[in-house]
């Protein structure tokens, strides 16, 4: 579904990604972790071309992301993305946040879009808040709306960029629950996160990045039982024992 082949990226002369290659198959859940500055968020943003890259190739469902002839809005509409800071549109109600792109991008009728939105709000347990504005919701609620908004486009895959890092601790689980449910339904997911409990529970594979390179790319059991590199071992020991 998502093929990342030998991708490198520079900011000016500073190299942020070096020869990254991996594959996310249909229905697979891949967790990407690593210390801050390791390039994991940058890599996931390359997948839907929010960040350009200079070398290598990324294919999403066979479509080349870096190809200048690719219709990027069309490609992005098929890949859901959830951001660290939610990025709901603050001047729109929850319902409007969920219907905007359905109507403007997919050409659905406002009624059909609202029906879809209502169904998804029900699913993330926020139907009662449909007419509120994002600023009136808690962080956890906002992130659940953001997930529903991404799902409203019927994506073939979902990208999560540290979806729980900006949340108060007591709100992390309500978001993770939604993500676990999604994973169990067979959604293809690429998730940048430090939530190792989530990784253990639903991930198929874990990718560990450091210094802009993919250091490990292993089945989750293998990764947690016996990380191959010292850097991954050190990272795990730091985030698992405190």
């Amino acid at each position: 579904m998502i093929s990342i082949r030998n991708v490198s990226k520079w900011y000016g002369s500073f190299r942020v990604l070096t020869g990254c290659s991996t594959e996310v198959r249909k229905g697979e859940v891949v967790v990407v972790c690593g210390p801050s500055g390791s390039g994991k968020s940058t890599l996931i943003k390359c997948v839907n071309a929010l960040e350009p890259f200079q070398e290598g190739e990324i294919l999403v469902d066979g479509v080349s992301v870096g190809d200048t002839k690719t219709d990027l809005p069309k490609l992005r509409a098929r890949v859901g993305m959830v951001f660290q800071h939610f990025e709901l549109f603050p001047h729109m109600t929850v319902a409007q946040n969920l219907t905007l792109a359905q109507v403007k991008v997919l050409g659905r009728s406002p009624q059909a879009a609202l029906e879809k939105g209502v169904k998804l709000l029900e699913r993330v347990g926020l139907l009662a808040h449909r007419d509120k504005y994002p600023g009136q919701l808690s962080g956890g609620q906002q992130q659940r709306v953001a997930i529903a908004r991404a799902l409203s486009m019927d994506p073939i895959a979902m990208l999560f960029d540290e979806p729980t890092s900006a949340l108060d601790p007591e709100m992390i689980n309500e978001v993770l629950d939604v993500m676990v449910e999604l994973a169990e339904e067979g959604m293809t997911m690429m998730v940048v996160t430090h939530e190792m409990g989530f990784a253990r529970k639903v991930a198929d594979r874990v990718i560990f990045m450091d210094g802009g390179t993919i250091v490990e790319d292993a089945h989750k059991d293998a990764f947690f039982a016996a990380p191959q590199s010292d850097r991954a071992r050190l990272f795990l020991s730091k985030i698992l024992h405190h």
Partner: protein, 247 residues
Amino acid sequence: MGGYHWNWGVFFQQVPSGGATYLDWFVQGVEWTLLVSAAGWAIALALGALLGVLRTVPSRALRGFAAAYVELFRNIPLLVQLFLWYFVVPELLPKALGDAIKGSPPLAQQFVAATLCLGLFTAARVCEQVRAGIESIARGQRAAGLALGLTLPQTYRFVLLPMAFRIILPPLTSEALNIIKNSSVVSTIGLIELSRQAQQLVDYSAQPYEAFIAVTIAYLVINAVVMYAMRWLEHRTRIPGYLVAAK
């Protein structure tokens, strides 16, 4: 002050040429000030919004163009710009067009030059406000809009601009008040707007205090109305839970 003879009734006297009272002159002055300011503001808002967007787009050429515009119009005194529009530009145009302009009624020439000058000058200032507004929200919101499959123009139209304009309403109010005050410079090319009308009232009625007091109050009232209208707009477009929390 002791020897001054107050006469507020002067406004109801006929002007020397007849057919109008001094009050009619005063009202005409108010009308021209409002007309020039409103037309200039329409240009400033439309062009300023467009330029402000261009200052934040990915294309380096478009960003450069908008930046050059701002530097050009911000760094030449308003009065000089007015003289350029009124006296110089018609000479620089193709002869037929220039002659057509010079052959049109003087009042039309004055109005067009005044409106263009105020509009284009203020557009540079509005542009910088719009740019600041967009930049204050752009990174994540732009990414979110694009990630949903919206095109860049759609992202501006539905996501960035509605928020940017809410954020910059207070500084835009200042610009709206500025254009009204700046409109007094158009008296220098002969358009008899409110400030020029004050001098004319003095010259003909010989009641300087009444004339200047009336004109001063007129400016204050116009600006107060604009200020309250903008405040009402701020209130109307306030987002529940957002700007209130940010303040």
